[in-house]
């Protein structure tokens, strides 16, 4: 059975972002680093885009490394974990 999620597309695959929301403490550093892809809703609920475009890599990387509790994981499909 072919893997339906790994078909080649003309655009580079989006990044895969995952935040461990058990760990997240709403420090909001990701929201300043990559404002289009992370946001705090209400007082402390983090919303994030799990599939930002590959072109946002530098911003998403800044978000990942600036997280005080290191709750963010980012995979570049085909290249592995940042």
């Amino acid at each position: 059975m072919p893997d339906p999620d790994s078909q080649a597309t003309p655009d580079p695959s989006p990044l895969r972002v995952l935040v461990d929301l058990n760990r997240c403490q709403a420090y909001a550093q990701c929201c300043y680093a990559a404002p289009a892809h992370f946001a705090i809703e209400g007082r402390e609920a983090l919303f994030y885009d799990p599939a930002p475009p590959a072109g946002m890599r530098a911003e998403i990387e800044r978000a990942r490394i600036s997280c005080p509790v290191q709750a963010i994981r980012v995979e570049v499909p085909g290249q592995g974990l940042l």
Binding site: Q25, Y27, Q29, C31, Y32, A33, P35, A58, E61, R62, I65, S66, P68, V69, Q70
Partner: protein
């Protein structure tokens, strides 16, 4: 029995250039009692635990103490009122919830992502301009020529303080920042001096706030003076003054050390400097690693509100508690090869910006400014060499070089 004078040794100016061997000795006990009854948390786990413990208070500022003037009306009427106001409207770095949370939320409401992003672009421009001014020079002082003017300009523009007024409050800011140094406020003369500075900078701020009320513009101070965050009333006048002073002082005294410590670390790790030159996108990782390896805020002093049991030790109620961030960053239990400078390391949960409720408000700004400075320096300084051993500023808590002179072959 552990050496109960280790914190004294940390404070001793002769150990300023390299306190890390003392930190290693402090880490032998996660929490240790010093001879003066201060408790020091030195391991990553102990700092992490205490910094998020609600029994640890930030309300450590002793009461204001202004000198007597000899004028009975001033000394017995005006002075007590002013001191009451100062003591009940401290900057939120010295306050606990719920007051802390409301004040901080008001600031965060104005510290918008748009404003920070705008300052990110501005930082790149400012760094370019500052380096252009040094074109043709054979020597550069990283502190005076870049690390100081950059964050000061950014905080002035973001907050809405005229940049040309900066020389006025430069000295006040430096003096007020000594409040973060241990023991400094035990000295009546220092407290009196701080009170005078506070009064002077307060008067300046009150005038500026009045101006922002008459003519609001798009800056943080106008926002704080005229708007209120959702669910929180508009900040009162005295809190607004204290908060403004805090922002201004913080913008002066910390990023300068982050940039200078970063550059010094890079000078001592030429392979890292070389890589940064080739790969400017590496700068964010470099600065996060500096926050672990040689952070600008080395420790903060808090207070135990109740007895706290930790690692077999009982911190008594009322005891001062030093959270030694810089020692936690070198803890081998938390980091492999902690004394190696390695920006590629994973899971770097440093305390360079503190943590929990009092996590540095300005961290995003500090990051963008430092990133801009490091990327430009690596790319533009030709053949930089350390010109002598850098002298350190007096602070043990806010620690960094007074000057950082580099010999260069020019600026690209």
């Amino acid at each position: 029995m552990a050496d109960a004078t280790l914190l004294d040794q940390v404070k001793d100016p002769k150990n300023r250039a390299d306190p890390y061997p003392i930190f290693a000795r402090l880490r032998a006990n996660p929490v240790s009692r010093q001879h003066d009854g201060t408790y020091v948390a030195a391991t990553h786990a102990a700092v992490a635990s205490l910094i998020s413990d609600p029994r640890i208070s930030s309300e450590t500022l002793p009461p204001a103490k202004r000198p007597l003037t000899g004028n009975p009306f001033t000394d017995w009427v005006v002075k007590p009122i002013r001191e009451h106001i100062t003591d009940t409207h401290r900057p939120f770095i010295f306050r606990d919830p719920p007051d802390h949370d409301a004040l901080r939320a008001s600031v965060m409401h104005q510290f918008t992502r748009e404003r920070v992003q705008a300052m990110r672009k501005r930082s790149d421009r400012l760094v370019a301009d500052l380096l252009n001014e040094k074109c043709g020079a054979r020597e550069i002082d990283i502190v005076d020529d870049l690390a100081y003017p950059l964050p000061v300009t950014v905080i002035c523009e973001l907050f809405g303080v005229p940049r040309e007024d900066e020389p006025k409050f430069h000295g006040w800011a430096t003096q007020l920042a000594t409040a973060l140094e241990p023991d400094s406020l035990d000295d009546d003369a220092v407290r009196a001096k701080n009170s005078r500075c506070f009064d002077a900078i307060s008067a300046y701020m009150a005038e500026l706030i009045a101006e922002k009320r008459r003519h609001p513009v798009d800056d943080m101070l106008s926002g704080l003076a005229n708007e209120s965050a959702p669910g929180i009333g508009r900040m009162g006048q005295y809190d607004l003054i204290a908060t403004s002073i805090l922002m201004l002082v913080a913008g002066h005294e910390t990023t300068v050390n982050l940039i200078a410590n970063s550059v010094l670390t890079l000078m001592r790790h030429p392979e890292a400097l070389e890589r940064l030159r080739a790969e400017p996108g590496w700068a964010p990782r470099v600065l996060e690693e500096v926050q672990r390896f040689d952070p600008p805020v080395q420790f903060r002093t808090r207070k135990a509100l109740a007895e706290i049991e930790i690692d077999g030790i009982t911190i008594p109620e009322g005891a001062p508690v030093v959270l030694l961030f810089a020692a936690a960053g070198r803890d081998p239990e938390a980091y492999a090869e902690p004394d190696r400078f390695d920006p590629d390391r994973h899971d770097n949960r440093h305390f360079g910006f503190g943590g929990s409720l009092h996590y540095c408000v300005g961290a995003p700004l500090a990051r963008f400014e430092t990133e801009a400075a490091l990327a430009a320096l690596a790319g533009r300084l030709r053949n930089p060499r350390l010109a002598g051993t850098p002298p350190y500023r007096p602070g043990a808590a806010l620690r960094g070089p007074q000057h950082l002179r580099l010999a260069i072959d020019g600026i690209a």
